[in-house]
């Protein structure tokens, strides 16, 4: 019995689910009124008020998706904002990263400004974007873009500069033109750096969308959370957070799949092949 249950690579998912159950269990025990005597708050309803109750949170999520079915419109808006910010930000970071890495003079001129823009707390821009682009999707995409762009940009910039000089010289000797070098040497070499940044930036695209919605919108999961906070409905807030987290994981998984497909040339440690 214990041999089958002992943590190993085979029953990883089982143990991961058990951690989840444990967290929910502890949450449930600590917050359900009347279950254990209150030790932090004066009365046994306060824990539920501040931290929500997992059963009610899950019930809320169930209602959103299956009974009242009113989350889909909001969720689609948030996902569209996230994906747009992610795609546009990645494309922009890639293009500018390649350009600056390949033209050192432009990079040297722009260097202080890039550093300044990167160190600026860009969430502050959200109200400005709301004024510029309105309260719809565009202003959230703009905020997400500013977050994603710099991460991808810095990684591409670094990736291009770390191209092996021998591989580069070899490709040049084989007759590659500047365009071909870009397509066949710089880009593939930078992709491994880009992918490591994409996991971070997909999360940040989500942050951009939700924070944007939170600061001013009429639709989206961030808007739902804001509404619930207005009425001190902590269970709905928690439900919104859980839904967002789940979808962030899904997006991260999609990026991981793309990475596995595109990066199959990279050695994985200790890889052997059964012939």
């Amino acid at each position: 019995m214990w041999r089958a249950l002992r943590p190993s690579t085979k029953n990883l998912v089982l143990w991961q689910l058990m951690v989840l159950l444990l967290v929910f269990g502890v949450w449930h025990v600590l917050t359900t009124p009347g279950l254990i005597p209150p030790f932090l708050f004066e009365n046994d309803r306060q824990a539920a008020f501040f931290f929500g109750e997992p059963l009610k949170v899950l019930g809320r999520i169930w209602a959103w998706f299956f009974t009242s079915r009113d989350i889909y419109g909001h969720l689609i808006v948030t996902l569209v904002e996230t994906v747009l910010a992610f795609v546009i930000g990645t494309a922009g970071g890639l293009a500018v990263g390649l350009w600056l890495a390949l033209s050192p003079v432009a990079a040297a001129i722009l260097d202080p400004y890039i550093k300044a823009l990167n160190s600026m707390p860009r969430v502050i821009l959200a109200p400005i974007f709301a004024v510029w682009f309105g309260l719809g999707v565009a202003s959230k995409v703009a905020l997400g873009f500013t977050l994603v762009f710099f991460i991808v940009f810095f990684n591409v910039y670094q990736g291009v500069r770390e191209v092996s000089p021998t591989v580069l010289a070899n490709a040049r000797m084989l007759g590659a033109s500047q365009r071909q070098l870009l397509r066949h040497v710089y880009l593939p070499s930078a992709t491994s750096w880009v992918f490591s940044s994409l996991h971070t930036s997909v999360g940040l695209a989500f942050v951009g969308a939700v924070v944007g919605e939170y600061l001013g919108s009429a639709r989206g999961v961030g808007y739902l959370i804001l509404q619930a906070e207005g009425t001190f409905d902590i269970n709905t807030v928690m439900a919104g957070i859980l839904v967002l987290t789940a979808f962030a994981l899904v997006l991260d998984w999609v990026v991981g799949q793309a990475e596995r497909r595109l990066m199959k040339w990279q050695p994985t440690t200790g890889e052997t092949e059964r012939i």
Binding site: S164, T166, V167, A169, N170, A171, R172, M173, L174, G175, A176, S177, Q180, H184, V185, P188, S189, T191, K264, W265, Q266, P267, E273
Partner: protein, 278 residues
Amino acid sequence: MTHNMTAAAQTPALALDAVTCTFVAHNKRVPGYTAIGDVTLSVAPGEFVSVVGPTGCGKSTLLNIAAGLLVPSRGNVRVFGAALQGLNHRAGYMFQSDALMPWRTALANVTAGLEFRGVAGAEARRQGEAWLERVGLSGFGDRYPHQLSGGMRKRIALAQTLALDPDIILMDEPFSALDVQTRQLMENELLQLWAAKRKAVLFITHDLDEAIALSDRVVVFSAGPSARPLGAFDIDLPRPRDVAEVRVHPQFIELHRAIWDVLRDEVLKGYAQQARRT
């Protein structure tokens, strides 16, 4: 050899004329490092020339200049009589370290040069497969470089360089990272491929045995800085050669002794300099 006599009368495939290469120091107060000084060297079409010298004698610098990757500080380079401008497009370069593109399969690496030159996909693939077979790796075309052994990667690099059928082949210690057995196999393979096409080869090595076994002519370089050729030895051993068998040829031993006499002092000098620098 009569072959060399006629070759010498022709325009050399590659001619370096009083070439000096000084690297600029990052620190302004120290003078630049002159890797090679006043080197005059020529390779006739179809001639196999090896350059031997102590470590750090600027042999790689020499090849980079011949390839057009480095511009010499002084002197000029001629390729089939024409002054070299930019990259040397008539030369193939086999690098000392791994230069394969890790994101391309073995076959795609071999056909990379053909692809860059606009050869159609199917035709490039056909030629690539033929080259893989020639270097004994047919059936390995879909592997990525990291899935191949060091020797296999060198074969792929050889096929990649030769697939473009360059008139001049530059080789920078191509087999130095291989074990002795693999190395002899590769050397014999190289000789066979070379004998079939008779291209001009400039081969850099620190292994005197290898140099004598392969070449028509061995050029000995002095220790750096400011390395230059100290002497050239014609190797008139009969061809075709087998690199393992030719080593016991009495003439081989004779040549080895003669060249080593010149080389030994330089090797000692080179070591002394490196010891001082570190």
